[in-house]
Every structure is written in structure tokens, then in C-alpha cells.
Symmetry: D2
């Protein structure tokens, strides 16, 4: 069965506006990234919104949850801004059953050449195929359950809340 | 516990020699790729050889198998040329027990800008963490068991020998 | 005799701060651009300031003029933000005699992969060698005398004030 | 009046064939390079041939000379492989009068990301506008008259035959 890919925006898809010198959203880069990665998975890609995750509110998260609910696919990857990725994961974890959802994003815009986005996309699409139902974050090559992860804003990386070893 | 990454060469690491106009191996690009991917996994990286997989012989495969055997790590990613990746996977599958080994590679050299290598590296490092013991190939976003995969040389993609659905 | 290259900042050298998601200046990319371009000119590179040209004031322009004056080189390339490049050119034109000065810049930061900066740098370094004394802007493959150029902010390109044909 | 750009192939336009692992020619990258450089010159671009300059023979050079002759434009840039660029320049110099011709090329294919091609293209298009009639090579940021230049194959750079200072 296909994997669903939900696009919500985030650093992943930011671009540089050469007229204003500001960053903005135009369209998703997901399709070119998948092409570059020679990805041959059966994917259903849906662009749900195109926003900075700092601007994401409860209504937006409700939309994401509703889409995951209604989707026939049982494996879902969500591209998302890193700043509130954990909050969205919590909403999904409390509202969803029986699906594997992996959120991922990027610290550097794909359009800026040196992005971690392609690495993370490969990672998220792999974890979603291999993990049991649940909500996860895939960043930095690692996969975190939704209830044991935080973004370390000083270092710009994700880490567990508590280490169990 | 750490993940072992074995480097054997392949298209992944090919470079362009501007004096001769030919492709050649100099050094691995794995470290810069991991840096670009903001990878924060605990990795033990070992450069075992640096060859085109068409030039890989039984002795080379014996070296790879021996290294996997001797390694304390139970999760191993191997970067490898795509042309004989399946052959090496078979050797490892028949000779190893109790370890998860994922082979991956690239169709386009990393140094050439438009590589699938970063995508595949993110994918392989994720599958190796999530899958049970066994030998797999991670290419094109997919993960194949060693005994159900072939390289389709006309299309330049990997596919299962038989589909079971 | 050597060509002097004065660095003042501008879009040329902007980078993406992955912790804040904002654009900022860290260091110049000129040296790596010259290396990438296999440039073999005898250059004297000086980083005079590192600012957005919208923030450039009369004192800054005085510094640039003074440096051009004092420099032993008679051919000078200045990397500069595009927004006030014309204003700086006017200051230099009124204050300098007997030197060829070419200002250039970029519409997209070099660090963002798809920059016009390398093209413009090759252009500016060439015009400065071939043109007689005077102050010019090199952008979009064209070279404009300081008193017949403006930035078209709607299109993001430079154009003559009046065309003489 | 427009500048003519003649495309003959060379490293400039080489690509990587991911099915065979070999370098080959498909189509020119000149148009995307000009777009990336935000070039706004009035150009007439003609693809004359698409070959490695080591494979270029007297007939090919005759074609290039004939095209330069017949062209209405008086300023001509030729993209060319570096190995025999000097030979072609000699043929043009002996057969042409009253036109400014600048040959340029690249040491690394444009498609491989780290090309000197964009830098050289900006350089050649600038020298051709500023120099008097004659045949020149623009490489490494420098411009050489056709009769005082050689490719140093050990270093991969162009240099004068004799220095006059």
C-alpha cells in the first residue's frame, strides 16, 4: 500500500526572494527531492498548507490530524517546521490509532544547496516503512517517539528528554 | 550501541579528475555527507577499500564479511557500488548471523551535485536501526531482503525478483 | 600589477543561520569562489566591511573611497550590495582619478547554491582588466558607466538610464 | 548589436550517464548557466557541434571559422574543450579579420556542481565586449592573445608562452 506524504511547509520549503531579500514560501520542493533521490516508493503526496511552524495554530493541527484520520494509507510522513514539530506530534499521538506517522523537517532550506532535508527525507520514508504504529520524529538520522523528544534550540538538534541506558 | 559504517567505494565516492577528464577515487565523502545531514548517530566509520564494485572479487568480499564478523556492532551499513551489491549481500547473508546489515550506494557520484547518495544514506542508516537481523539493500527509498532483489540495468533502479501481493 | 578586490558585504556574502532562520553575515565567500573559478589572477583581497548596502552610510562610503585612493593598485573590483551600489559608484566617480573601478554584487547569496555571484565575479574581474580608468557597475553580464545605470527593483536587474541608439 | 555564442562541446557540457557510469554529451547547459547568471545581454546562441576537443579535426575547425565569418555579429564567444582550444584559436586568428573572438571552457563539467564554467562564461562575455578585434582565450580569470598562450597540462591551467615584464 502507498505511503502518504503530507506537506505543511517549514524550513524544508523556504526560498530566497531575490527582489526583497527575504525568505518566503512558493511551492514545495518535495517532488524534485524525490526525483533526485531516485525514490521509487508508491507515494500519495498532498500539500496541506505552506507555513512556518511558528505560525501553526490549533486549527492547522486539527487539519493535519483530520487528514491523517481520513487517509486510507497506514504509513504517513509529514514535512514540518522544526520549531513546533513536537507539539504537532503530540496532537497526532493523542488523536490517532493504528497508523505509523513520522514527522521530519530541515534545519536549512533545500533551495540553499546544503540542506539536511534530503537526508531526513530518506530517513523518514524508511522509518515509516519499518516501525510499528505510533507517532515519531525523524531528525539527525535518529527516530524519536513523540513523547521523548525535544528540539535543543541552542544546538539546533533534536534529542531525547530522558535517556534510558 | 554504535552503528558501524563500512566504506568500500562505488559511485558514491567517485570524483572527476580535472587533469585527465576521468573519474577516480580519492577519498570518501561520507564524513561531509553526514555533516550536511546533521547526523547525530553514534557511528564507527571504517574505510575498508575504495573500489568500483565491478572490480570487487572474492577476496574483497571475504574482507567485508570478516570485518562484519569481527565488529562489535550489531548494526552495519555498507556503502558499495551498485553493480555487484547483490553479490556481496549474498556472501554476507550466507556467512553472518545475528546482525542487521544494510548495503547502499548511489547512481550518481556525490561530488557531482545531484546525487541520490544523501537520500540513500539517510535511508540505510534508518532501516538498519529499525529492522531485525538480516542482510538488506536500501536503494530508491525501498529496502529489499538480500534474496529478493536485482539491479535493473536498463532503468538504473533496484526491484524485487518476485512480488508477493 | 595586481588587481585589488575590496569586500563590503552585500547579498554576495549572506548566509542562513540555521538556529534563528535568519540571514546574516559571517565571513566572505570570495576566496572559495575564486578557487572554484580556478582564478589565477594576481589579487590583493581586502575585507573592508561586511554589511547590507541598505545600511551603508556616508562614513562607510568615505572609507571605501579612501581605500581606493590609498591603494597602489590601479584596477579595483568592489563587491557590494545591489541596493545602493549606484550611490557608492557616484561617490567614487567624483573622488577618484586614474583608476579603473568595477563594482559588482549578487541577487542571490552565494551560499544558496544558485547564485549569480560567480558569473558576476568573473565578469567584473574581466572588465576591470580591459576598461580604461573610470567607475563602472558589472551586473547581468553588462558593464555600465557609473552615471548611466539604475537598479530596476521590480525586475531585480540593472539597466541604463538612457539608451543611446 | 548582439554577441554570438558558439557552442562546440568540451568539458563545459559533459554529463554523467548513471546507467553506464561514463561521461557523455546530451545537450548544452549554456542556457541554464546564463539564466543562473541573470545574464541580460542580447545573445545569439548557436550549437555548432557537441564534441570533446580531443576529437576535433580540421573539418570541425573549418566549420567554426566559416560560422564566425558568416555571422553578422562582430563579437563572438566560443565554448570549447580546453585540450585543443589553442589550436582552434590559431585557425580563427589566421582566417578572421575585424571581429573580437573569445574562446572559453571549463576544467570541470558544469553538471558536476563545482564548475569553473560559470566564472569563465562571465569572464568571456565581458572580455568580448571590451577588447578590440582579435582572437583571445579567457580562462582562469585571465585573457590571453591567441599567439601567447598554452595549456599547462600538469597544473590544469592556462599560461602565457612568454612574459613580457
Amino acid at each position: 500500500m502507498a505511503i502518504r506524504v503530507l506537506i505543511t511547509g517549514g524550513t524544508f520549503d523556504k526560498e530566497y526572494d531575490e527582489l526583497t531579500g527575504k525568505l518566503f514560501f512558493r511551492d514545495t520542493h518535495l517532488h524534485e527531492m524525490l526525483k533526485l533521490g531516485r525514490c521509487r516508493l508508491d507515494l500519495v503526496v498532498k500539500r496541506l498548507m505552506m507555513i512556518d511552524s511558528l505560525d501553526m495554530n490549533d486549527v492547522d493541527r486539527g487539519l493535519i490530524l483530520a487528514d491523517c484520520h481520513a487517509a486510507p494509507e497506514r504509513q504517513i510522513v509529514i514535512t514540518h517546521g522544526t520549531d513546533t514539530m513536537v507539539e504537532t506530534a503530540q496532537v497526532l499521538a493523542l488523536g490517532l490509532r493504528g497508523k505509523t506517522v513520522v514527522l521530519t523537517g530541515a534545519m536549512v532550506p533545500w533551495a540553499f544547496g546544503s540542506s539536511d532535508g534530503l537526508f531526513n527525507l530518506g530517513s523518514a520514508l524508511s522509518f515509516v516503512q519499518a516501525l510499528p504504529a505510533g507517532v515519531y520524529l525523524a531528525m539527525n538520522g535518529r527516530c524519536f517517539p513523540w513523547d521523548n523528544v525535544r528540539k535543543n534550540r541552542e544546538l539546533g538538534v533534536f534529542e531525547p528528554l530522558h535517556t534510558e541506558r
